[in-house]
Symmetry: C2
Subunit: 233 residues, 2 copies
Amino acid sequence: MVKTEVATKATPLTEAPADVYRQLREAIVSGEFQPNERLVEVDLARRLNTGRTSIRAALVRLDQEGLVAREPNRGARVRLVSDREAIEIEQVRIALEILIVRYAAEKVSPADLEDLRVDLLEMRKRLDQGDPLGYSELNARFHQRIWAIAEHETATKLLATLKSQSLRFQFRTILRPGRTERSLEEHRAIVEALSARDPEASERAMTQHLSHVVETLKWAIETNRRQAGWRPR
Amino acid sequence: MVKTEVATKATPLTEAPADVYRQLREAIVSGEFQPNERLVEVDLARRLNTGRTSIRAALVRLDQEGLVAREPNRGARVRLVSDREAIEIEQVRIALEILIVRYAAEKVSPADLEDLRVDLLEMRKRLDQGDPLGYSELNARFHQRIWAIAEHETATKLLATLKSQSLRFQFRTILRPGRTERSLEEHRAIVEALSARDPEASERAMTQHLSHVVETLKWAIETNRRQAGWRPR
DNA sequence: GCATGCCGGATTGTCGACAATCTTACGCCG
DNA sequence: CGGCGTAAGATTGTCGACAATCCGGCATGC
């Protein structure tokens, strides 16, 4: 006979071990917690109905990953990335994207190219529909596809963590008037260079594509400051 | 009266909290553990006379850092970096070094330049004394000085962890016949470019300097294989 | 009024014990 | 003699309780 209500403890809905980490991580990058908000272990434990132990382990990981900051005896809070750090992250991201695209050029297969071209078409569609958010999503997928092609685990892993760190301020850089049209063109150039299996050209195309993002980010930060009523003291 | 033997518990020689992490880390990168050796929690706890708790936390960190591999319910072992991964790490390292030297060129101070020149002289000396190991150490210091000049925390932190990962196979790449003399020359070129505060030139000089290291590493891996009695199956 | 010191609540850090899981060795049977 | 289930041992994962630490408010004294 099967019990129908075992809600107390025998509820392995979530498989506590390493899943707690994913849940917490997701909650943080999706902005469910405010930047700088305190993360009290017992609260989190209740929230994900698990013990403090697994929460603890997850927090240590997230700390090492740069998503939360832990001070001895003072607990953990979701880490606030400063404007300056945001720029640094972006700079590193660019360097790695350029590194990766070169190896992608060496390993790209016809099927990969086909996928990339499909992405391009999708992007075109979103743009025509006036759906910049959808475009942004596709943009992310496009780049990640290149990561996969390059088969460069080390760089890919780093890029992934950097991305998660920057996710919380990314929204600032999405909506840049007039950039999208040009962005699509640059993506096309990248695909072309990849088609030719030309590492040098691919690198150039990627460099070109990313050359503006830091400027854009700085601009976004600046306007954001003004909006928020910035007052230098 | 002071007890002379309190070896049991009241021995806060080490301040357990986060220091355990450093000790373990040090033990791993210094090769005190064999690659792939199992790291049993209780053993480590006794060894550093602390509890399993802090060991656990340290292992989680080291896992995230890539120095240790942990499988659920199967414990931790010091991670063995494959030849392929070693190459990937080196590639990323190069990309970041190039990124960093550019910012170093923008921020370098006269005092920094003086320090770098002193390093250069020291290197010359070591070379004349036929001390390649000392040279290698100075080499590391030289690069780290550039990191400090650039004040690029994000990239520096990544470089540091990459370095620790590669420390265990670095010995293979140290002794490359005839490279050292040329290496010194390249270092000199870097310092010159930095003196001119020219980011472009600095980047070129660094690129030049690092252009051979991957080839060298591949070569080293190859010879190492042969020596170890490699037999393709 | 202000600095200082102290107490109480809240939170993290650590320990010990137990449950869950994996590994190995052993014996059974075909 | 070899495959296979099973039991014992070893090791990790989790929980609960307690100690250590930090934070804030409050009283005290100058």
